[in-house]
């Protein structure tokens, strides 16, 4: 409304964020939070198990180095850039929400940044000094210490971000106390951390197994040894990860749970919901089997099986992340801002004056008979476009048609109107319709036109914006000039 709306009419705006964020979380958990301690631990094993006259077992150390090399390349490219990408995509798709969060959480993010800088410096040191550190035992011990520091900082980076995410999902608190500590004390914080930490360890373990199978040959003694170690690592963490997932899932507030079934994104809620649990149970079992085999019968473990395990482990987490991305609906900041970027408290004003009047960017401040369809498009952009497209994923004509039984018949206006007026009651994941009755008429006219024309809604990044005359400098000046003259005349009256 105050910021031109970027809109992807095919991919769906939320999908853009979900893809980038999920990718980032997967890399961050499997290659940073969980992987750094795993690598450091393995590096240390090389020193402990080496011959007395050696600093470390060179073959083993080389294998661990290669694992670290993989992590280094991926985290400092895709990992780092998807992290920035979350910012970019969120600020394009929901600028008002991220801007509000920053206003309140600036220092949390700032501290997060400091920790993150430390993490990057440590990863550079740890990786780039690896080979030099192999010259003396003292240097090697110090190098391993850096590995542990790095592990701690990777974890702290995650711990802070989790606080911010947890805060956004906690209903109610935003309005009462918009403060920093709140993010850490909110009821979702601990469960998330308890779920994410062991999960990251398990993911790192499955990835580690796979990398070992890539970097060593069949029958190598170091391969068998590495399998055994990592298998045990997984066996230690897996029960905690499963327990954490169950715990986390149970603590998500009730209203959000009510949304959870739709959260996954299609109509057949129950089906998806079951799939999620099946994947979680299934992948836990597969990981368990893999870990058991690698500990007790490492010789028979095959690379392709490890690859499959890895895919399932990532799927385990990916699904959970996806659910989290969609859980907050209809709010984007609980009980403060809806997903359409409008604040709940401004609704009465929009209902009274119409939403178009207050939107800085739109070509139709008031709805007339002539501009009805265009006004409808503007209303759609403001009220629905954050979650619906016109022709792509979750398109508005598709959802209406499906709701009316997939008949393909022209929609009935009255039915649509009474639906939209109450849509937040029948489908709780949607915010209430913000506009007035004329705007509702216009929206319906637009959707009906969409049904027959297949026209595509283009975002501000392609067609630019039209400036609402009511919200322009000229309007501002005349309005405030009026106020001043009013004030003056009042003052004059008082003086008299």
């Amino acid at each position: 409304m105050d910021i031109p709306l970027f809109h992807l009419d095919w991919l769906n705006n939320r999908m853009l964020i979900a893809i980038i964020a999920t990718l980032h979380a997967l890399i961050n958990h499997s290659l940073a939070v969980g992987f750094m301690p795993l690598v450091t631990w393995l590096e240390n094993k090389g020193v402990v198990n080496s011959n007395p006259h050696e600093i470390t077992d060179p073959k083993w150390d080389k294998m661990v180095y290669k694992m670290m090399w993989t992590a280094f390349i991926i985290t400092t490219t895709i990992g780092a850039m998807t992290g920035v990408g979350i910012w970019f995509s969120v600020s394009l798709v929901s600028p008002n929400s991220i801007a509000s969060l920053i206003r309140v959480f600036y220092f949390a993010w700032f501290v997060e940044w400091l920790v993150f800088v430390t993490e990057v410096v440590l990863i550079l040191i740890y990786f780039l000094t690896w080979k030099n550190a192999n010259k003396t035992l003292k240097a090697k011990t110090r190098h391993i210490k850096f590995g542990w520091y790095l592990s701690v900082f990777s974890w702290v980076t995650m711990a802070i971000i989790v606080s911010i995410l947890g805060f956004m999902m906690d209903p109610g608190n935003w309005n009462n106390e918009q403060s920093l500590i709140n993010g850490f004390t909110n009821p979702l914080y601990l469960p998330q951390l308890l779920y994410r930490t062991p999960l990251a360890m398990v993911l790192a373990g499955t990835l580690g197994l796979f990398l070992v199978s890539v970097f060593t040959n069949k029958g190598d003694t170091i391969r068998i040894k590495a399998f055994r170690y990592i298998g045990k690592w997984i066996l230690c963490w897996l029960p905690f990860a499963v327990a954490g997932a169950v715990y986390y899932f149970n603590v998500i507030p009730k209203t959000m749970l009510a949304n959870l079934q739709v959260a996954i994104g299609t109509q057949s809620f129950q089906q998806w919901y079951d799939i999620m649990w099946k994947v979680i149970v299934g992948s836990s079992i597969i990981i368990l089997i893999t870990a058991i085999i690698t500990v007790w019968k490492p010789q028979i473990m095959k690379s392709y099986f490890l690859a499959i395990t890895l895919v399932f482990a990532l799927g385990f987490m990916g699904l959970f992340e996806r659910v989290r991305e969609f859980i907050r609906k209809p709010y984007i900041i609980s009980e403060y801002m809806y997903s359409n970027l409008l604040r709940e408290e401004d609704y009465p004003l929009y209902k009274k004056d119409g939403i178009l009047k207050w939107a800085t960017y739109n070509s139709t401040p008031t709805v007339t008979n002539e501009n009805k369809v265009e006004a409808g498009r503007n209303v759609f952009m403001l009220a629905c476009s954050r979650c619906h497209t016109t022709q792509g994923i979750n398109s508005i004509t598709y959802v209406f048609d499906r709701m009316y039984g997939n008949t393909g018949k022209p929609f009935k206006e009255d039915m649509m109107k009474s639906y939209i007026k109450n849509m937040h009651k029948s489908r709780e994941y949607m915010p209430p319709f913000p506009g007035n009755d004329l705007e509702l008429d216009a929206l319906v006219a637009y959707i009906k036109q969409l049904q027959v024309t297949n026209e595509v809604l283009e975002g501000a990044q392609e067609v630019g914006v039209a400036i609402n005359k009511d919200q322009s400098v000229e309007a501002f000046k005349s309005q405030f000039a009026n106020k001043e003259t009013q004030n003056e005349s009042q003052n004059n009256l008082v003086k008299k």
């Binding site: 509000s100 990057v120 501000a460 609402n468 405030f480």
Partner: protein
């Protein structure tokens, strides 16, 4: 030609206070931005130098080695460039929220394309670094890799400049149609050139220091090239780039739209430029002087140029403040008045509506139905769910069955979606009124 009169928007700000005093945020913005930009300079300048040295290295093996040495620094500098970028990004989001986001949105596709583009460029720099031996007999391909990375690194700053330029000109927002039209606003290219030359200068200084470090075993890496030669070349690069800035700088200033120009800006920019003069002088003396004197005054050169950069960075901010402050004032007044209007509307709507209490039961039933069910049910025809007539035939003698369904509907009909549950939304008395209404309506 018809010039369309577009107006200047006055959007509302985010109605929340700043998290810290403004001067504090501004300081953080200027400092963290400079740190970020230095690493970006090193990343871009380093890649360009690598490319140049490697091409030269086709004929002279020594330059290939030099290219390899510079290439090793890129991957470190680029990581720092990214993390250091987060603080200024966060802070500019806070200070200039609507301006920055508006520019982002209007150039959205290119803006988000930064993410995959930079990722690819980073991967290319690693590929380039780790395949030095693999491609030792295939130099053209190897050079192509770094050339691609360079092209991407050259494009990215252009996107950023387009954005920070566009955010300064609300009067243009209504005319922008996509990235290209924002790119073509005057002033983008001069500022871009200014930046590219700064990158070369900064990288030259860095190279001078890098090959001169005590624990850098120059002699065992190079056979013919000497420290002195490399340092001289590095200085020449810095010198040439700095002198060029004296031509590009005024062009930047002249193409800046006049609305943000002010004496405060001119003063800061000129002071900055003047402080760079001693550096230029000492560099010149070192280049033409004796080899053993090349290191003399390096510290002064660095200090002067650093001060120059700080002044230029501050000048940048002063221009931004000069340009935007009047608009920011309007925006904040507008935001205040909006908050007031919203408050008034909220109070009005909260006033109890009269005549609720004396409604009859069936009126209430109708009202509940309208609010909760009418979206999907009509009297005589199917909408989303079955019509009321059908409900009546199923439940005419079974109101409690009806209520049970409403509380927790099942799944009965093929091809119908799931009806939502109303267990937590309707009270028992409301349920009674509703079911009465459904079963009695004619």
């Amino acid at each position: 030609m018809l010039l369309l009169q577009t107006s200047i928007p006055v959007p509302k700000d985010i109605p929340l206070p700043f998290p810290a005093p403004e001067w504090f945020l501004v300081t953080i913005l200027i400092i963290s931005f400079l740190v970020h930009i230095v690493f970006v300079n090193l990343m871009l300048g380093g890649s360009l130098l690598t490319l140049w040295c490697q091409i030269k290295g086709i004929k002279n093996k020594e330059y290939d080695t030099l290219a390899h040495e510079i290439a090793k620094t890129i991957t470190v500098n680029k990581s720092l460039a990214v993390v250091m970028g987060i603080a200024p990004l966060l802070t500019i989001n806070t200070l200039y929220t609507v301006f920055f986001y508006t520019a982002n949105s209007l150039t959205g596709l290119m803006w988000i394309a930064i993410i995959p583009l930079v990722t690819v460029a980073f991967l290319l720099t690693y590929l380039h670094k780790y395949t030095w031996n693999t491609f030792s007999n295939n130099k053209p391909i190897h050079i192509l890799i770094i050339a691609f990375a360079c092209i991407i690194f050259m494009i990215i700053p252009l996107v950023f400049f387009t954005n920070v330029n566009l955010m300064l000109f609300p009067e243009k927002w209504g005319t922008i149609k996509g990235f290209m039209s924002a790119l073509l606003l005057p002033n983008v290219f001069p500022r871009y050139l200014h930046f590219i030359f700064a990158s070369l200068a900064v990288t030259g200084l860095f190279l001078f220091w890098y090959v001169g470090r005590k624990n850098y075993d120059f002699e065992s890496i190079f056979n013919q090239l000497t420290r002195y030669e490399v340092k001289k070349k590095a200085y020449s690069l810095v010198l040439a780039a700095s002198v060029s800035q004296f031509i590009i700088g005024p062009i930047v200033l002249l193409t800046l739209p006049s609305k943000g120009l002010g004496w405060n800006l001119i003063l800061v920019i000129f002071t900055g430029a003047i402080i760079s003069l001693p550096a230029i002088f000492y560099m010149y003396k070192a280049i033409v002087g004796k080899p053993e004197n090349i290191n003399k005054n390096f510290k002064i050169v660095v200090i002067c140029l650093t001060i120059t950069v700080v002044f230029m960075g501050s000048g940048r901010h002063i221009y931004r403040a000069n340009t935007l402050n009047p608009h920011i004032k309007m925006i904040s007044e507008k935001t205040q008045s909006f908050i007031k209007e919203s408050e008034i509307a909220r109070q009005e709507s909260a006033k109890p509506q009269t005549a609720v209490s004396d409604k009859t039961d069936s009126n209430k039933g109708l009202e509940i139905f309208e609010q909760n069910c009418a979206a999907c049910h009509a009297k005589d025809e199917k909408v989303v769910g079955p019509p009321i007539r059908e409900m009546q035939t199923i439940y005419s003698n079974n109101p409690s069955g009806l209520k049970a369904w409403i509380k927790a509907p099942g799944k009965k009909r093929e091809g119908y979606p799931q009806m939502p549950a109303f267990a937590n939304k309707l009270s028992d008395s409301e349920l009674n009124q509703l079911s009465n209404y459904i079963l009695t309506i004619k």
